[in-house]
């Protein structure tokens, strides 16, 4: 069977273990997501699978070919949208596509037709002869994605395909990804640090943290990890919020984690029937004024928090965030 097979894949940079004995497989026709915070090792995995980086240890095969020993064969099957845009600003949209198309030895006539087709698909036909440097980020990313589709890849790698895009462009890119997966039967492996995106797009998700896969399942099953355990997620607004108040909530037995969103807003993850009352009582006891309480549906974000014991954004964001957690749920093992 083809698709992607990854076995104990490891990458060290000096003493840093960027990817730590990762194993998973991606089936043909699937959209597989690698979800994790910045620095988790997602890009490194993508680079190893797309033959751009040599693994330190372990093996991987893409479309049935080994990424090290048969890198040439792998390259013929894949398309890559990496974190940095693979486009030349001083070349026009057409010139860019022509250049990369010629690298795949697509004959001129066919290539011209294909370029027109793809440009139409992303609604950029009238920008065909404009230099890419003059485009908005969203337009550039659309060109960048069709560039990766020029050789009709069986397997498409997308590393943070919506990073830095406006919401409108993000939606368009996501639609395009879904479309080529459905219509062209392209197997897709994408990375993201956005829970919502992984939730929306992926058939299965591997949650990756510090180079290891912490959980791997369908979005629905991953969310069940939380909601199944009669958990409660509350968002509270307390104008006179104090550190002591947070500490006392945190010390409650039913509470698994508390995170502060801003100076007056906290989010509490808890388990058990009486969690709601206990938390409200604790705040009252600390003379907290509660303006609003919201009960939230569990998101992948909560799953991530539950599994890894820390928030998705904590490595990415520079702003110092108070975060506390206790009682780790038993970690979900990968198969």
């Amino acid at each position: 069977m083809h698709g992607i097979e990854v076995n104990n894949l490891t990458k060290r940079f000096g003493t840093l273990v960027a990817v730590d004995h990762v194993s998973f497989s991606v089936e043909e026709g699937e959209i597989f997501g690698l979800l994790g915070p910045n620095g988790a090792g997602k890009t490194t995995i993508i680079r190893m699978l797309s033959t751009l980086t040599r693994p330190t240890e372990g093996t991987a095969s893409v479309g049935g070919y080994d990424v090290v020993k048969e890198d040439g064969k792998v390259r013929e099957l894949i398309g890559l949208v990496s974190e940095k845009m693979i486009l030349y600003d001083r070349l026009t949209a057409k010139e860019n596509l022509w250049f990369f198309g010629r690298l795949y030895n697509i004959p001129g006539e066919l290539l011209n037709k294909k370029i027109d087709e793809l440009l139409k698909l992303v609604k950029l036909t009238k920008w065909k002869n404009s230099q890419v440097g003059t485009f908005s980020t969203g337009m550039r990313q659309r060109i960048n994605v069709i560039r990766a589709m020029l050789n009709m890849p069986e397997i498409l790698f997308l590393d943070e395909p919506t990073l830095g895009l406006d919401p409108q462009s993000s939606v368009e890119i996501r639609e395009f990804i879904r479309k080529i997966n459905r219509e062209n039967k392209v197997t897709i492996i994408l990375t993201t640090h956005m829970m919502a995106e992984a939730d929306m797009l992926c058939d299965r998700i591997g949650i990756i943290d510090y180079g290891k896969i912490a959980a791997l399942d369908t979005p629905i099953n991953l969310k069940k990890l939380i909601s199944g355990a009669d958990s409660t997620i509350l968002e509270l607004e307390i104008p006179n919020l104090t550190t002591d108040m947070i500490h006392s909530i945190q010390s409650l037995k039913c509470v698994s984690s508390v995170s502060q969103n801003n100076s007056t807003r906290i989010k509490v993850n808890a388990n058990g029937d009486d969690a709601f009352d206990t938390i409200i009582d604790a705040i009252r006891a600390n003379k907290g004024k509660i303006i609003s309480v919201k009960t939230l549906e569990p998101t992948l974000e909560d799953v991530f928090l539950q599994i890894t014991g820390h928030e998705v954004r904590d490595k990415a964001d520079q702003k110092i965030k108070m975060k506390m957690h206790r009682h780790h749920m038993p970690k979900t093992r990968v198969r």
Partner: protein
Amino acid sequence: MGVKNVISHILIIAWKDLIELFRNKMALAMLMLMPIFMMAMAGFIFPSSTSMSNISVALVNEDKGSASSMFIDVLERINNSTEMMVLTNASSFDEVRNMIQRGDVEGGIVITRNFSLNLMTGEQGSIIIVTDQSNPQISIALQTGLKAVFDQMGTVLAQKNVEPLNATNSLAVVKPYHVETQGAIPGTFNYFDFMAPGLMAMTVMMSVMTGLPAAISHEREVGTLDGMMVAPIRRLGIILGKTLAQTVRGLLQGILTLILAIALFGVVIHGSILLIFALLFLGVFSFVGLGVVITSFAKDQETAMMVMMTLMFPMMFLSGVFFPIQQMPWYMQSISKALPLTYAITALRKVMVLGADLSAISLEVAVLIGFGTVMTLIALPVFRRAMTK
């Protein structure tokens, strides 16, 4: 099939790089300026020949006799035609020294006391040339210039002295032989004819050697190199494609250098233009491997450029662009002989100045091909490994 594909990849990559270059106004301006600066530097700062003009010189006459005034008379007459010096009178050796220290004059001539008397009595008359050691270039020019003047005057004096002997040709008595310099090819030769081939080779090679690492590391930094690396193409194709683009860029600069040398400094090309370009190509080829190895090891564009510049600078001097390598001490000469640039310049000089043909430069050509082949063979696996680190 495979070869045809590699060639097509080389061409498309070169095409892409050249479009990028020609749409980059800033890069184009720099491309034109480099040879102009280079020429200006070489042409106007280095002495184009040993004959300098308008050096200010202090003249002291401590002698009271008639010989010294005749001497000064001849000196002024010769100087009027060569305009080598601007003469100022001074009273003593000490004053000359002060004037040099103050920077008023660049040298001095002191005719010593009893100059005339000594000549009359059959002794040697002595003249002191005072030089400014802080300015060796002028100092040397002054010495050579004045030596020629004194030589000529000595001859005139001697001729006068032997006239009573009634020889048929008094000059032949005083100077029994006559030396004349004639080049291997007709026409006069100046320092620029010597330097132009070297400057051209250096311009082309420096352009490629700084351009290639910059181009590759730049693409690596902005991430576009990945687009080529994930394509099923030969790594050799990537290297040679980028090299071809840089060579075209370098040759444009080389041609500009040549045009400037011809237009501003009257350099004449004696050999075949085709052979000159072939040699420039070969020179570039001999260097590419080294450039690729450096690119592979350097972390980023800046490091690559720095390493390249550090290597280029001594190479420039060691390969005989400005000074003949025969002037260097033996150990420097051995280093020089290990540099491909030396062979490229030697061959180019033979062709441009002496009008040599391919057979006359076969050794240089063989060395360049050998060096280039070996370096490229070393560079390929190094590049392949470095790019998939």
